[in-house]
């Protein structure tokens, strides 16, 4: 099992989960970042870890910004563009806070672990206590800083909880090499080895997966 190194380098303005993801990636690795936004993670991986990092992004304005910044990013989306890559083209395929917004999450995960040796997936945890509390007390769909759109306009069409994700990994035969949950302040939660507690108190989750059969 990979041990998590403490995050030494903190890029300015880089989202917390991107820093945590970067810490999971080995130096010099070939990385594909799906939903890479303006390319912050791939720039970080290139500059600090010497990775061959590339990105796919669906928002054309962000693609333009990333390429104009010298990052290798293409316009495309997780649901339709992964199928074009050959098997094992990357060491890591990253999907950061995007899984809940894709059309077919299970197929996207399959593609990620076909084209990459490992997959790193982060997502906002729908099992977080505040969401449960809002649903329980108000009887309405929760709205928080993370889940900030009304149900009828949210792009997050496939929300899941940490336990849901564990169940999917088990069903698909993926090995969870590492996982962690972070709280609202971005601190790693102390309930790392207790999925039920993490599912209640973790606002975001991050998983490092590989295929069952592979080394």
């Amino acid at each position: 099992m990979t041990t998590l190194e403490p995050v030494r380098f903190v890029a300015k303005n880089m989202r917390l989960d991107l820093r945590l993801i970067a810490a999971m990636v080995a130096p010099k690795a070939r990385v594909l970042d799906i939903g890479c936004g303006d390319g912050a993670l791939i720039e970080h991986l290139f500059r600090t870890q010497g990775c061959d990092a590339r990105g796919i992004e669906i928002d054309m304005a962000l693609v333009t910004r990333a390429v104009a910044h010298g990052m290798p990013v293409m316009h495309g989306d997780a649901d339709s563009d992964l199928q074009h890559y050959p098997d094992g083209a990357f060491d890591y395929v990253v999907l950061s806070r995007t899984l809940q917004a894709v059309e077919r999450p299970r197929e996207v995960l399959r593609q990620m672990l076909r084209i990459g040796t490992r997959a790193i997936v982060s997502f906002p945890n729908f099992g977080f206590w505040r969401l449960r509390w809002q649903l329980l007390t108000t009887g309405r769909m929760p709205v928080t800083a993370t889940w900030d759109r009304e149900w009828y306009e949210t792009p997050n069409i496939h929300p899941c909880t940490i336990r849901d994700f564990f169940a999917l990994c088990a069903a698909e035969g993926y090995v969870v090499e590492n996982w962690l949950a972070v709280d609202e302040g971005g601190r790693k939660s102390p309930w790392r080895r207790a999925p039920r507690l993490a599912n209640l108190f973790g606002e975001q989750a991050m998983f490092l997966l590989r295929n069952g059969g592979a080394a």
Binding site: M60, M71, M74
Partner: protein, 364 residues
Amino acid sequence: MRLPRVTVAYRTYGTLDTARANAILICHALTGDQYVAETHPLTGKPGWWNAVVGPGKPIDTDRFFVVCANVLGGCMGSTGPRSPRGDGSDDQGGELWGTDFPAVTIHDMVNAQKLLIDHLRIARLFAVIGGSMGGMQALDWAASYPDAVFAAVPVAAAAYHSAQNIAFNEVGRQAIFADPDWQGGRYWQSGAIPARGLAVARMCAHITYLSEQALARKFGRRLQKAPKDASEAIDLFGGMFEVESYLHHQGSTFVNRFDANAYLTITRAMDYFDLAADHDGDLAAAFRGSRTRFLLVSFSSDWLFPTAESRAITRALNRAAANVSFVEIGTDKGHDAFLLDEPDFHRTLAGFLSGCAEHAGLTR
């Protein structure tokens, strides 16, 4: 067929560094030429890519050594239908190639450029960049000489010429054939030029370079000269629409600078371009193992080389696990957008090139 001698006319801008590593080859489009960033000697107009090439511009001539050659089959100094047939050793008088000039392909154009690059003792081009037919050449360069191309930027291009594009080219060619002054292609003997046919070819092609929105925005239904009264308004051919006048102007200025037989030769080369067909129908095979860094750029209102074609190339490059960036620039200017002031395109190109320069180890 082998040409007895080949001339490649070219222009350069900027300075080749001591490592001969900062050279960018620009490939021009169908009716372009080597005068990328300077006043054109025949027309007196600014260079066709003045917006993109020059000191401090996206293709920065303070940093890069820019080379652009007139294509094989062209009419601005490189060997083409208007060149003498002989190799100069035998006595063939002033006989020109005309329509006997052999059919050339995009790949032949690239090979002529390769001879030039070898002549300049440049082992590896930092980048090959081109729009439209120039983009076809950039693709062919990357496929044919992957180790000689660090970065390739096909803009508003496609890996093959579509049936629709071939159809438009054929209308243009038929207009030239139909001009009595074409004289079976031997017009140079009488000194005439098939001006009307070539102008119609240019007018037809020019429509394909623009979008409907751009035509509507620039010309709408406005008349060149508003009718004075009702009697004038009903005259069928009295009032000329502004769009007609614009096309007439495009046609008439074109014939002064372009050779009709060269137009036939080059449009045919475009028609025959199909990079996948050269690799058993698999475009990815053309790029397998490539270490070239690619940037594909398309324009949202370009219907001649639509975004779908650039996306198809991108996916083939993905299948080959190549390093590829791809953006579609939002614009209403159609295919011509690649020549015009498009800040997003220019920012993208500049950023891509400086990113590549970092990876190539080019110092500023």
